[in-house]
């Protein structure tokens, strides 16, 4: 595998080259507005102002593959004509952190595996090229990806890996897959890549300060503790809001809703959250998870036990967003640590 050098000064040209035949998503904005947005050609050519590669975005990039709301199909009320949305074309996500890249493998498990392939998801996934960006510094004191099998410089799942050089002026670029090599050709044609010299090295990746001791048999331990009174304690400050699920890169629950307007009925797939009171309510009104204790237990068992049992992966990549953003101090790392003591 050869490494090339992408100077930061060449970034506008590199993004503009991608925009010729891709939709390009990159982190823009600051603070709570820091999110992956679809770049316009003007934004791409003025990268220095628009694209913000510092830190972890508030909302994860999962909505590029799994939108907050998407139309599955529509039916004309007069003519009964069925319409399906236009398929998305080639797409690039630029500057994704290693934890968020690993989370896409989790989404793949949910939408592509176990005998069911989701039509809308697979179409977007096959068209997607992931350009990952290694963490040069720790993004937040809540980061714990290296306790969850990943790492600040992990290239797992990436098509292209960018690593910032020690002097901060360029990225070392590794093209890891066929999709990545296609971009390499594009960038070679646009003359945005140069050959690295011996001085262009990456500093050692940072080490997460939050260390979580995750035992091998965590799923079994947690499932055996289903009736443990500790769940009451773990959930007591929880507000039952959807912050954790909606900012999480791996949560994938959805509901189907119908919207009727403009002479058309549309079936929509919309994000949903297992902490909400209507999530597990059944016809007739019975709710097997009537309080936040049962809901929170389900959320963590799904992440740390059920998903692992079904797909062999933990449904948490250690990005730390939920720990940092939870308004009431609920902490998945505490749950993992407590599981280890059982």
């Amino acid at each position: 595998m050869t490494q090339k050098l992408l100077l930061k000064s060449a970034l506008p040209a590199a993004l503009t080259a991608l925009l010729a035949d891709h939709a390009v998503f990159a982190p823009t904005g600051e603070a709570e507005r820091h999110a992956f947005t679809c770049l316009s050609s003007a934004e791409a050519s003025e990268t220095a102002d628009a694209v913000n590669l510092d830190g972890l975005t508030t909302i994860s990039p999962k909505e590029i593959l799994f939108p907050r709301s998407e139309t599955l199909y529509g039916i004309g009320l007069e003519n009964g004509e069925i319409s399906t949305p236009e398929p998305t074309g080639p797409t690039v996500i630029f500057g994704v952190r290693p934890c968020d890249v690993r989370s896409i493998a989790n989404l793949d498990c949910s939408f592509l595996e176990k005998g069911f392939v989701d039509t809308a998801y697979v179409q977007r996934r096959e068209n997607l090229t992931i350009i990952a960006l290694a963490c040069k510094e720790l993004q937040s004191p809540a980061c714990f990806c290296d306790s969850m099998g990943g790492g600040p410089a992990s290239a797992e799942g990436a098509d292209i890996m960018l690593t910032e050089t020690a002097d901060g002026k360029a990225f070392l670029v590794s093209f890891l897959t066929a999709k990545g090599e296609a971009i390499e050709k594009l960038w070679e044609t646009a003359s945005v890549l140069t050959e690295p010299n011996s001085a262009d090295t990456a500093p050692p990746p940072p080490v997460c300060t939050l260390k979580v001791d995750k035992p091998q048999d965590l799923p079994a331990k947690l499932m055996a503790a289903f009736d443990d009174p500790a769940w009451e304690r773990l959930s007591e400050s929880c507000l039952g809001c959807g912050t954790c699920s909606y900012i999480c890169p791996t949560c994938y629950c959805f509901d189907i809703d119908t919207e009727i307007s403009g002479g058309k009925a549309e079936q929509l797939r919309c994000w949903d959250c297992c902490m909400f009171s209507d999530y597990s309510r059944m016809a007739g009104g019975h709710d097997p998870r009537p309080t936040k204790k049962e809901r929170l237990r389900n959320r963590f068992l799904h992440k740390l036990a059920y998903f692992d049992e079904r797909h062999g992966r933990t449904l948490c990549v250690g990005c730390g967003r939920c720990i940092a953003k939870c308004p009431s101090g609920v902490d998945i790392a505490h749950v993992i640590e407590w599981g280890g003591t059982l």
């Binding site: 603070a31 400050s237 809001c241 959807g242 909606y246 909400f276 902490d331």
Partner: protein, 286 residues
């Protein structure tokens, strides 16, 4: 008195209440992993009391957690600052909790490291069974003493031209992710079942877009508007950092313009402004 001394008093008092069996639990605050962030904590036995904290970051409101146990077997102990006490007054007035079910330990507050505390009008508790320490200043904070105007958030928006105001709210609703943290933390948002959770009624779609977000934002603001105690918890919990306190501040400011001085939660007997009516009203507009 230092925060450490106050914290010691709280721990001792909570431990004593648990030891006496006077209350089933005491609602207070604990540390989290991060300096500068605390969380609500329930003291369930004597030993737990040592986890209680009191510092400039004990910001979350304790009162909302009372609504999780509306018919307790035993009294619930609760630490209450001025804001918590306003919330408790509203909960009592709205028939959400009964006064005799509470044992309120009043904590005169020195103001926390939160922007919203700069416009606090009531640092000292209004309703309590005991005060744990003496207030350092007179009860309440007069308008002129405020470090920031009481309706600062509403005034930020009022200062904009009409088009910019519209753009401001459209931006807020476009960025809302409808996690409902603002609703869940609000001490006056107490419906047993929120209209947004009423499945398939069509009141609130699941669709995540600015239009559905606007329905929720405006409905929430008007539903709690005249009962809002101005604590700002809705803004603290918002993961998107949306300036939503401006909505209810505007409603209260408007009420003040129509009917004179008004502040929700000052009196457990007081009706909410829009919740009271008089059979002798002339209804000339009908």
């Amino acid at each position: 008195m230092t925060n450490e001394q106050k914290q010691t008093l709280m721990r001792e008092r909570a431990a004593a209440l648990m030891k006496d069996g006077a209350v089933s639990y005491v609602i207070g605050w604990r540390e989290t992993r991060f300096p500068g962030k605390t969380a609500i904590f329930f003291v369930r036995d004597e030993k737990d009391a040592d986890m209680l904290v009191w510092d400039e970051y004990t910001i979350p409101l304790t009162a909302k957690y009372l609504t999780e146990n509306r018919w307790p077997d035993k009294k619930i102990g609760i630490f209450a600052r001025g804001c918590d006490s306003k919330a408790i007054n509203r909960l009592i007035s709205d028939n959400q909790v009964e006064r005799e079910n509470l044992y309120i330990i009043g904590l005169p507050c020195e103001g926390k490291k939160d922007d919203r505390c700069l416009s606090c009008t009531q640092r000292d508790p209004l309703i309590y069974d005991e005060l744990l320490w003496e207030p350092e200043n007179a009860t309440g904070t007069s308008e002129t003493d405020l470090q920031r105007a009481r309706f600062f958030r509403a005034e930020e928006v009022e200062s904009l031209p009409t088009d910019a105001r519209f753009a401001h709210w459209e931006d807020v609703y476009a960025r809302c992710i409808r996690c409902y943290a603002c609703r869940n933390v609000c001490p006056v948002c107490t419906c047993r079942e929120c209209y947004v959770d009423m499945h398939r009624t069509g009141f609130q779609g699941k669709h995540h877009d600015a239009a559905e977000n606007r329905v929720f934002g405006v409905t929430r603001a008007f539903h709690v508007g005249d009962r809002c105690i101005e604590c700002g918890e809705c803004e603290r919990v918002c993961p998107m950092g949306l300036p939503i306190l401006g909505q209810t501040q505007k409603i209260i400011k408007t009420i003040e313009g129509l009917a004179g001085t008004y502040e929700a939660g000052m009196d457990p007997e007081a009706d909410s402004f829009l919740g009271k009516f008089d059979l002798d009203d002339k209804d000339t507009f009908m």
